[in-house]
Symmetry: D2
Subunit: 149 residues, 4 copies
């Protein structure tokens, strides 16, 4: 999982991301992508908050899950897609700051299931702090009606 | 955890829910609330989708986590608030249909930590189907600066 | 998942359990089995303890995972086996008492993956107390070399 | 979390490990210990197997949970102990081989809760392979009756 994605592989991930309506609704943006590694960023704003003003665990989970899912997709052949079977997320500190960045990575790619992880960092005043840690089981799928990428 | 919440307890949960900016952004609505049990509903729409058009796991997680969190809050005294320490969610079937309903419940309330769960059902054509199952560890907090409910 | 397992189905689960060397080493015993539901019991003793004298989380997990796994196996056709893909366990109270009982159940059976759960109760002085709660993703397998039941 | 544990800190972990009856029953051995990092090894044998002859997920979990727990303990002051609040383990490949090694580490240490992880590798023919990945929430405790280390 070194090197770079070729143009078609990168374009496939960017196209799939643009179809995730939730990412646009939250204001999330796709960042760096590489084989087995994908970043998604999100700027905190009141529309994604929980009751104390922090970013809601659901929004943190959304970018972490998508970063992990696209990390998985980046190592699969073009005819296969990915579905999240399960994830666990530990919320380690309030998600506040200028920007959140979720860094997804593939831990181990099996034939049917892939274990992925995502670390979510909050950036503030030039520093970053780990605020959440996710592990997710992704299921590699093919040939399901209407499901691609 | 039988009976009903009194008016002040119910009002506290409704006020806290209304401060969760993400719930309004997603279009989620607070439903039935009772001691140890809280429901949150969400109508699928393109703005909360993943790449295949299903509701994104992040949006499913958001209502499940909030339903579980408010179930926890409903059994705590007024001076205490709740933070999610971690959750795991299993995504069992595509989240599609006319409406999703997350039903949160307290499994066991400890002194510092509460185990909660939430089942998410998709309603379509008069039937409901289990599409996700969450367990969450909630942390009971008090006296943290600026954190209430 | 009502009714009873037939004699062949029940015998299959008992035979598989007897091949789990760890269950004998821990002193665990297979209890009631029904379609989608399996119980395993364990008497606390110093050989399964953690450092405070409680039953070790690993031993609690072992009976919870096996109870959940056999619950899954009980709803599958004879030619299929089960592997645990992942589980989460919440440890809610010290595992002490006269006897622990893990009650496994199938939450939802999909084509490839089954979501199962197990509650672990500690019995003491005629009462039982919930001490752990597990959810597990079981993978239905067939035709893998040497893997049955 | 660099450097080495001093003699008293290392002795404390070794003494606590020796009180875990389950570790002796399984045949597990404490390996390298450093601030925030602890290894536990286990040789596969029929007494710790599941039904296919692999090491049982419960035994894999036991060494992973203990390695993670002692990693947490290694960064806490002497008057504090550790309890596992929850863990998730993903089982990535059959646990077979000459030796299993669980490597526990602290991901983030909070005031009350610590997030830890453990990777479990199977060694065979001079190579090691990742077979399981655990994340665990550890609770730092003090002053509970009879609970130390």
């Amino acid at each position: 999982m070194n090197g770079e994605l070729n143009a078609a592989e990168a374009a496939r991930i960017r196209a799939s991301f643009s179809r995730q309506g939730l990412m646009a609704t939250l204001g999330a943006e796709l960042g760096a992508i590489a084989p087995g590694r994908v970043e998604i960023a999100l700027r905190p704003h009141p529309g994604i908050s929980q009751q104390h003003g922090f970013v809601h665990a659901g929004a943190v989970s959304a970018i972490a899950d998508s970063a992990a899912g696209y990390a998985a997709l980046s190592v699969l052949p073009p005819e296969r897609g990915v579905l999240t079977a399960e994830f666990k997320i530990n919320l380690l500190a309030p998600a506040i700051g200028e920007r959140l960045v979720a860094r997804g990575a593939v831990v181990k790619a099996g034939k049917t299931l892939l274990l992925t992880q995502a670390e979510v960092f909050a950036e503030a005043e030039g520093k970053e702090r780990l605020v959440a840690f996710l592990t997710a089981t992704m299921m590699s799928i093919a040939g399901r009606e209407g499901i691609v990428d």
